[in-house]
């Protein structure tokens, strides 16, 4: 059984490939046309940040939602991407595009390494170890201040380039399309993965571990595959973030970013991939709209997260599905 060889036969209630492909293309075409409406560099900056968050959140949904692995070190993988890119591109002088891909690979290797201590663990212990892993990575980066800049971080990290195009000009259009391309690739990869046999087997492990193992699913291998798969694009997103911001700082390991991204995953509704992407739009736009409220912004966001989690445990996608069912029922009655 290789990773993506055979598709699962269609089942009642499962959206067919064709319908999903139509929705996928339509949705991302819409996103690709957004620069026509939003010409100023501020709103494009917000969109680029949304795309980065969406990549990180939707990849987290793979390990957290589908895999059921409470990986609280996901943001450390993002941070590893940020620092791998910065070190490779700035300190080692490697071509930014090669550094970008290399960062994804390094994050994947790191994810495989984290999997080793958590293979025997369950639930809350996985949270604690992965949390500890994130702190460990941060402490190592801080202590190697000659190379990484320590708590000061690194500045003047080389940005990406596209032929002779000036990336800052035309309202960051270059970065916008690179970010969108990364999001498309990441989403395509994630959806292919979760609809494959490998995806089905990790869901089986999540839902009934003993039964899945007895049917020949390898816990060790699938857990490693899950984490490694969720790490690649997360690392690349981190590298892109560093290239776009032109700096690297240890803030990416902080609790506040982790809380925001985690709420995107949970707010969107786990085990959907698309939910996390929708939620990163909603949360980021919401938070930008309240930029004038200062400390109140964070308080209102926190309150909103609590209310949604209490009222709609399945998140925004659950909300949309509930609304859709209601509309469909109305039409049927007529």
């Amino acid at each position: 059984m290789t990773l993506l060889d055979t598709a699962i036969p269609s089942a009642p209630g499962r959206v067919t490939w064709n319908r999903e492909a139509i929705g996928f293309v339509a949705g991302f075409l819409l996103l690709a046309l957004l620069p026509l409406v939003f010409g100023d560099s501020y709103s494009r900056h917000v969109l680029i940040m949304i795309f980065i968050y969406a990549i990180v959140a939707s990849n987290w949904d793979l390990s957290l939602g589908y895999g059921g692995v409470f990986n609280f070190g996901h943001l450390a993988l993002f941070g590893i991407g940020v620092y791998a890119y910065s070190l490779l591109a700035k300190q080692a002088g490697i071509d930014p595009w090669i550094a970008l891909v290399a960062s994804g690979v390094i994050a994947t290797v790191a994810a495989v390494l984290v999997t080793i201590p958590i293979l025997r663990l369950k639930g809350i212990y996985i949270i604690l170890v992965t949390f500890g892993f994130a702190q460990l990575v941060m402490q190592v980066i801080i202590s190697q201040s000659d190379l990484t800049g320590g708590t000061q971080g690194l500045v003047r990290v080389p940005g990406l380039y596209l032929f002779d195009h000036n990336m800052i000009r035309d309202g960051k259009i270059g970065y916008f399309y690179i970010a969108l391309t990364l999001l498309v690739l990441s989403t395509l990869f994630l959806r292919l993965f979760v609809r494959s046999r490998a995806g089905a087997s990790i869901v089986a492990l999540r839902d009934n571990e003993e039964y899945a193992i007895s049917r020949g699913v390898s816990l060790v291998r699938q857990r490693m595959v899950t984490l490694a798969a969720s790490a690649f694009f997360t690392g690349i997103a981190g590298a892109f973030y560093a290239a776009y911001q032109r700096n690297a700082s240890i803030d990416v390991f902080g609790m506040s970013l982790a809380t925001i991204i985690l709420s995107m995953v949970l707010l969107g509704g786990t085990s959907t991939i698309y939910g996390a992407i929708i939620a990163s739009f909603v949360l980021t736009v919401f938070s930008e709209a309240m930029a004038d409220f200062g400390a109140w912004r964070l308080m209102i966001s926190a309150l909103l997260i609590i209310v949604i989690m209490l009222v709609y445990p399945s998140g925004l996608v659950g909300m949309i599905r509930a609304a859709w069912t209601m509309v469909a029922e109305r039409i049927k009655v007529r």
């Binding site: 170890v129 892993f133 400390a295 966001s301 926190a302 609590i306 209490l310």
Partner: protein, 291 residues
């Protein structure tokens, strides 16, 4: 000799604070089966409530216990608002992580708005300094080293000797059975949170007496408490207490020999290694229950 007593007092002192924090986390975990990520914020709130009461002109002997009681109420309210409604959901562990994180952010930013970002300090429990075995220590630190074991012993006898404490342990062991024999499980959940929050608040008051306090002061102690409970095993009260002192000593020794920068990294490395060998913690049995 001075080096040894330095490590000894430093470890004893840090260990006391960690024990106070970790016991609350373990109490909530064993009774309800969730992890309270706003535990560090409780610590901060306790310190700020105490500071506010002292600023109102109350003497320390009244202000500090009053702040601890207020924290018990705060713990109960948190439990009733963001934990209790979720009980019975299949993914409760994960959802409670996010709701308590969000509630923590709410309270932390609330404290920032009310009290401002400027550092504050609480009066010490006892003023003055002394020299023991060649090390200068403040009487405040000595007081903490002495008071903490007393409070932990009181908690232990409450859990083992009183009806209410036994009820709490019963819920931790078997929720359905305790409901069958007529225990009010919901109220006991609230009680666990209230005790945890007041212990965290007390730790905050202790810390505010020797270090400047700010709204994010709880983040680091929460992290240390997490390490302590993993290390000591989350399923008991005594495990985390031993582990807290052990980690206090480890940190003091590591600070001495390897320096401040490498200590956290070493600590996490030891933690991960421990979990690979003994996933249930070094002092724990495999069962979930208070003892």
């Amino acid at each position: 000799m001075s080096m040894f007593s330095d490590i000894f007092f430093g470890g004893l002192f840090q260990g006391s604070l960690y024990a106070m924090m970790a016991v609350g986390l373990a109490l909530v975990w064993t009774t309800i089966g969730v992890f309270n990520f706003s535990h560090g914020v409780f610590m901060m709130l306790g310190a700020y409530f105490a500071w506010q009461l002292v600023a109102f002109g109350l003497p320390v002997v009244i202000a500090f216990p009053l702040a601890v009681i207020v924290m018990a109420g705060a713990g109960w309210i948190l439990q009733a608002s963001v934990v209790r409604p979720l009980i019975g959901r299949p993914n409760i562990v994960l959802v409670v992580v996010i709701t308590t994180l969000a509630a923590g952010s709410l309270m932390e930013n609330g404290a920032l708005t009310v009290w401002g970002p400027r550092s504050k300090q609480l009066p010490s429990l006892i003023e003055g300094n002394t020299t023991i075995a060649g090390v200068g220590v403040s009487l405040h630190q000595i007081a903490i080293i002495v008071i903490t074991p007393l409070i932990l012993a009181a908690l232990w006898s409450f859990l083992n000797r009183t009806r209410l404490g036994l009820a709490l342990r019963a819920v931790a062991q078997n929720e359905d059975a305790s409901q069958l024999v007529g225990l009010n499980v919901t109220a006991l959940y609230g009680l666990a949170f209230a005790i945890a929050a007041s212990l965290a608040g007390l730790a905050g008051i202790f810390m505010g007496g020797y270090r400047f306090m700010n709204p994010s002061m709880g983040a680091d102690p929460l992290l240390k408490a997490l390490i302590v409970v993993v290390f000591g095993g989350i399923s008991s009260i005594s495990g985390p207490i031993f582990a807290a002192y052990l980690i206090g000593f480890f940190e003091a020794a590591s600070n001495y020999y390897f320096g401040l920068y490498w200590t956290p990294a070493l600590l996490f490395l030891v933690l991960i290694a421990t979990l690979m060998v003994r996933p249930e913690g070094i002092f724990a049995s495999r069962s979930r229950g208070l003892a």
